[in-house]
């Protein structure tokens, strides 16, 4: 409900007491006749009182990065301690865990990027319009970082070749190579970029570069290490 077409724009100013006296009179008369605007007025009427609790210059102060580090550090340490604390189940769990580790190692060697290297970061890849189009996982290899990328709903109408970029923290874009999407818009590729873990925080997929000009951005994601 947003008020009627003719007077809907006046409800906000009316609620805040920011209309001229003649407009206030006109709006008051209208509210007595228009159920739609009267309902909207009731919905918004409590806002000035709530706004009074805050002050004009109140802002959410930036927090020190050290505080976030301290919170996360405490969390990681407590979790590690909790994981190490012995329990009655432990004597049964150790042989089971050992067996699971062997199985997991075999599975990881088969499915993880980098020929069995463990992924150290992952990213969801979002289109410029805010839709998830895929994901990427990064694993360390001798030559840099191997990125395993999966995508869907890629536009394939104007050529199906795309390029992967790793954006370093200093703003430099490092090319990770190109790949081709399938006719149905899906893609799966394993590419290697000359970046090291921690050097970069964003991966971007663009159209193929032409004449040294980077192609249009298709999707990007922030890496979670």
């Amino acid at each position: 409900m947003t008020g009627c077409r003719e007077y809907g724009d006046l409800i906000g100013p009316y609620i805040l007491g920011a209309l001229e006296p003649d407009e206030v009179e006109e709006m008051s008369r209208h509210l007595a006749e228009c159920d739609r605007c009267a309902l909207e007025r009731r919905r918004l009427a409590g806002l000035p009182a709530l706004l009074d609790y805050a002050q004009a210059d109140d802002t959410i102060a930036p927090l020190s990065p050290q505080l976030e580090d301290a919170v996360l550090d405490q969390f990681v340490k407590e979790r590690a301690r909790a994981d190490q604390s012995p329990g009655r189940w432990r004597r049964f769990a150790i042989p089971a865990a050992a067996a699971a580790v062997v199985i997991l190692a075999v599975v990881l060697a088969l499915v993880l990027p980098g020929g069995g290297q463990r992924a150290y970061a992952r990213a969801e890849l979002w289109s410029t319009s805010g839709k998830v189009l895929g994901n990427a996982s990064a694993a360390k290899v001798d030559s840099g970082t191997r990125v395993q990328l999966r995508a869907h709903d890629l536009p394939v109408g104007r050529g199906a070749v795309y390029e992967l970029w790793c954006v370093r923290k200093d703003g430099r874009w490092i090319n990770g190579g190109s790949f081709q999407a399938r006719a149905d818009g899906t893609a799966a590729a394993v590419l290697t970029a000359a970046v090291r873990p921690g050097d970069y925080h964003v991966v971007v997929v663009t159209r193929r570069s032409v004449g040294g000009e980077r192609g249009a951005e298709v999707m990007r994601g922030k890496l979670k290490y």
């Binding site: 906000g12 009427a45 969390f75 407590e78």
Partner: protein, 176 residues
């Protein structure tokens, strides 16, 4: 839901997301209630420690995450006031003495920072018209003259701004 996933969170990703959503306003709340940045940071750190330690007990049907976090922060702030009340005061020191005074001041501070957080989620243009009209006491005509924005746009923007604010407050479960 982030809090429900927290007991299984080993990477800290869920906690980091919760921190980014709520830490700023909790810090504003604690700073205004305690008047001391360092103490406020301790409160924020403690709130998040309580959050991950007791995430398994969280009952969504009883309170929103925001309400729960503010309740934890509130308790920590009350503790800090009690500790301050127990030590000898300097002659020039102004402090809240009774539990009732502390309660009333904290209720106000909770709302103040929740409203501030809600305003921070508006677009800058929406926030600005509310600031000028409500806090600045300007009429629509005066805002239009001051900003150079057409009068009709200022009026419609103000109405959209209030509707957006109402939706944000609904989402935050804040009722008039």
């Amino acid at each position: 839901m982030l809090v429900e996933r927290l007991p299984r969170d080993r990477s800290g990703d869920e906690l980091r997301e919760l921190y980014r959503r709520y830490a700023g306003e909790l810090f504003g709340f604690a700073t205004s209630a305690l008047g001391d940045r360092e103490q406020a940071e301790e409160v924020v750190q403690d709130v998040f420690a309580q959050l991950w330690r007791h995430a398994g007990d969280y009952d969504q049907s009883r309170a929103s995450v925001r309400t729960w976090l503010y309740a934890i922060a509130r308790n920590r702030i009350v503790d800090a006031h009690r500790r301050a009340a127990a030590r000898p005061k300097r002659a020039d020191e102004d402090s809240l003495d009774s539990a009732a005074e502390i309660d009333a001041a904290l209720d106000q501070a909770v709302l103040r920072w929740q409203i501030t957080a809600a305003l921070a989620r508006l677009s800058p243009a929406h926030r600005e018209v509310i600031r000028l009209a409500h806090y600045g006491g300007l009429t629509m005509r005066e805002i239009a003259e001051r900003t150079g924005i057409p009068l009709g746009t200022v009026k419609s923007r103000t109405s959209y701004a209030l509707r957006s604010l109402r939706l944000i407050l609904d989402e935050m479960e804040i009722e008039p």
